[in-house]
Amino acid sequence: MKKDIILAGVGGQGILTIATIIGDAAAVAGLSLKQAEVHGMSQRGGDVQSNLRLSTETIHSDLIKQGTADLIISMEPMEALRYVQYLHENGSVVTSSHPFKNIPNYPEEQDIAAELAALPHTVSLPIDDIAKTNSLPKSANVILLGMAAKFIEILSPEQLRESIARVFARKGEEVVKANQRAFDLGLAAV
């Protein structure tokens, strides 16, 4: 079994934290893993993405082939669209519906929403609003991970939840609890 995931967003939105949590869970579960990250110039508010590959078999390429990604997880709707050529014809997209507008020529929001809706399996939720109403302003990315959890399949939501405890342990019990609550909110929302 394999799961090829593209994580997308804007520099600073916390997609590498999502990658770290999934990566930790995969390592503990004994899965093969490769995760190509973007460092450097692109982190200054530009588009960022990470190719995350999980498998029970050996993984060769650090990059995902076009038309084969099982899942796109995106912190931003236009950034989700940027990688549709990589999506498998039955693949899923889990994205925040909240646009991040740091450019003057951002497209019309309804056009982006329509393109996302035309894909076979799209889940789009206003995670920033969910984060705010639940007083979890710093955990929008973990809410998104919760939303995606059922689609990751090769790891169970419980395995991901345990990994959150390990990844945030250094920051104290309160931070762990807040992030697990964020994860549960995302999980329940889908």
């Binding site: 450097g40 200054r44 236009m78 019309e108």
Partner: protein, 541 residues
Amino acid sequence: MRDKDKNDKTLSYMIERKLLLGDEAVALGAVHAGISGVYAYPGTPSTEITEYIQVHAPEVRSRWCTNEKTAMEAALGMSYAGKRALVCMKHVGMNVAADAFVNSAITGVNGGVVVLAADDPSMHSSQNEQDSRFYGKFAMIPILEPSTQQEAYDIMPYAFSLSEELKLPVLLRVVTRLAHSRAGVAVGQAQPQNPLHLDNERTHWVLLPGNARRQYASLVEKQPRLLASSEKSPYNKSVLRKQKSKLGIIACGIAYNYIMENQSQENAFPVLKISQYPIPETLIKELASQCESLLIAEDGQPLVEEQVKSLLGSNYPIKGRLTGDLPRMGELTPDSVGEALGIKQATTFAAAQHIVARPPALCQGCGHRDVYDALNKVAAEYEDARIFGDIGCYTLGALPPFRSIDSCVDMGASITMAKGAADAGAHPSIAVIGDSTFTHSGMTGLLDAINDHSPITVIISDNLTTAMTGGQDSAGTNKFEAICLGLGVEPEHLHVVVPLPKNMEEITNILRQEIEYKGVSVIIPRRECMQTLKRKLRNKK
């Protein structure tokens, strides 16, 4: 029996699995190979190697160097004293280190030296995609190019042993996709560092022409040993050998992964994986004899393709980047390699209609923003103002909304290009350079301008760190006024300002006044980088 059981148990206990970036695997491999020092200037995608060693191996000397040349020379000094040293840089850093690098092959080494060059095909964060393997060939030394994170770790002790065995530096080449990709790596234990053992062979190290000729002859004589080492290298291996095939593949470094990703039962080609150079000629001829044609898959420039062409003669059909079977530029991908193999690709969705580029930008509140606001204001008052830029976060001043700079070429070129343009009559001729870039390669150019009394205005935009690569220490922090005065900038034409909107009038007035001065002026806008400031505040909490 009991002892054996105990040993087995200890062994399995000693091997640990870690999730590591390619860069981190190199770093840990080097530490476990017993290095005593790592010498480096930050540069994407190589920076994380030195950072990892700084955090995880306090017993290793690891302070950032002023530039790649000083790094290479310090490593050579450590080698002279008998210990192992690692030098790390991005590919364009090789250009800066080249004098020391090429001559280190002439002197040879005592303690092992591994020079790591992190190439950036597709120019994710660079101004070109030069292939560092050419430097290794040029210097006539062994080159290693791991394919995976595991190999990046495993190859380090091998690289240092090879260096000490051949008494030559070894070039280790990685590319962005290996450097910045994470995978599980089985790691072992550290071996001890070499003891101090000073070299006594002055005829090796004093490269007067008489000695240099002998040393070069010895380097030429070593070449068959380099080739023999490649032929039997555990890192050069054949897959599906002896199987007759229409097409055979030579896959170098990371390209091997893309080939294997495309291998399947119905598409199984014989492959020669190359991770050690010079190219293993016998292995290549062996593969060629069982195949009707060869595809050369290598990330970067067609170095192996050209060599294999000359090895096999012009009648043997070879496909690669030169023939257009693989793209001539940019990094390889599993898609481009699959296409070159003629493998049917998965159906894909059409590219989305409603996406636009999202370029990186200077952070909100960044001091460089205020510098460019001031420069734009003053430059607009002249018909032909030119602002020569340099390498760093502030290169983003080329993009909207600022569009301030007219050039960005290489580390330090802002000052020297401003001088040359001023020599030609351009006015105002302004240079913008960051603090770390100034000490890396700007100081010497400033001295040229001072000695020639060039009418240029130099802005050293000081944010107290090497920001672009993530906030490493900057070599000249707290020393810039002293450096400028020492080089000969006149005290009345050296100004320090705080780049904030409330100081805009003061800054623009100083700019106007210094542009009119017909000699070298230096203005230092100084305010801490927003990223390092935020990190400090977070850590305080």
